[in-house]
Symmetry: C2
C-alpha cells in the first residue's frame, strides 16, 4: 500500500503522514525498488489510532503517551483513563471559557443594535480603559 492510498483510507493528507513519520509518530515503512514508501496493516492501525486521538482533540504529545498503552492491552486502562480524564477537564474548561466569551460578545452586539449609529458599543468597549469605562 503506498502513501496515497493510506492517506485516502485514513482521511489524512500525504504530507501529514510524512510529517508524522519525521517526528517519529509513525514507524518508517519499508521502501519499494523505486523508493516509494510501502505500508502494511500495522501502519494503517497506528495511523488510524493517531487520527482518532487527534480527532478527539488530544495533542501530539498526548497521542505519544497513549500509543505505547495501545500496545499492551493489559493493565493499560487506568493509565489511559488518567490521560483521558485530564483531557476531558481541559475540554470542559475550554467550553466554559468560550461561553463567557460568547456572552460578552452577545452583550456588545445587542447593545450595538439598540444604540444609535453614532455610538457603537462594540467600538466603545474596545477602547482604552481611561476613555471607555468598563
Amino acid at each position: 500500500m503506498q502513501i496515497g492510498e493510506l492517506a485516502r483510507t485514513t482521511s489524512t493528507k500525504v504530507e501529514t503522514i510524512r510529517f508524522y513519520e519525521k517526528i517519529g509518530l509513525l514507524p518508517k515503512p519499508s521502501r519499494t525498488s523505486g523508493n516509494y514508501r510501502d505500508y502494511g496493516s500495522d501502519h494503517l492501525a497506528r495511523l488510524s489510532f493517531v487520527r482518532r486521538a487527534r480527532g478527539l482533540g488530544f495533542r501530539l504529545d498526548q497521542v505519544r503517551e497513549l500509543l505505547p498503552l495501545s500496545d499492551d492491552q493489559n493493565r493499560s486502562c487506568s493509565a489511559v483513563d488518567i490521560v483521558a480524564r485530564a483531557h476531558l477537564a481541559r475540554i470542559d474548561q475550554k467550553i466554559a471559557d468560550l461561553r463567557v466569551l460568547r456572552y460578552e460578545l452577545d452583550e456588545l452586539i445587542s447593545h450595538c443594535r439598540k444604540g444609535a449609529i453614532s455610538d457603537c458599543r462594540i467600538i466603545e468597549a474596545l477602547g482604552p480603559p481611561n476613555e471607555a469605562g468598563y
Copy 2:
C-alpha cells in the same frame, strides 16, 4: 512613555508590542535620543483596542478589519456588527463541536471504568476501522 510601561498598563509582553509593530498592527512610535520607542496616548488607545479584541477571541486579521472602523465613529456600527456577528457564529460552532467531543470522550471514559481491565474501551475505540467496529 517607554515600551515597558505600555506593556504593563496593557498587560502585554514587550515582545508582543514589538511584534505588533512589525506586522503593522501598531504604528511605529517616535524614538528618543537613545533610540528607545516613545509612546503616546494614541498608541495606548490602539494597543488597548487590539488587546481587548484579541481577548474576545478575534484573530489578528479581524482586528485589522476592526481597527479602521474604530477610527471613524460614524457609520461604522453596522460594519462592526457584521464582523462581530460572524465571530459570534464561529464561537457558537466551536462550542457545539467541543460539546460533541466532550460527550464522546465521556462515553469512552465511563465505559472504560465499567469494563474489565483487559478490554479498555478507549484503546479499542482508537483502533483502526476494520478492527474495532464503530
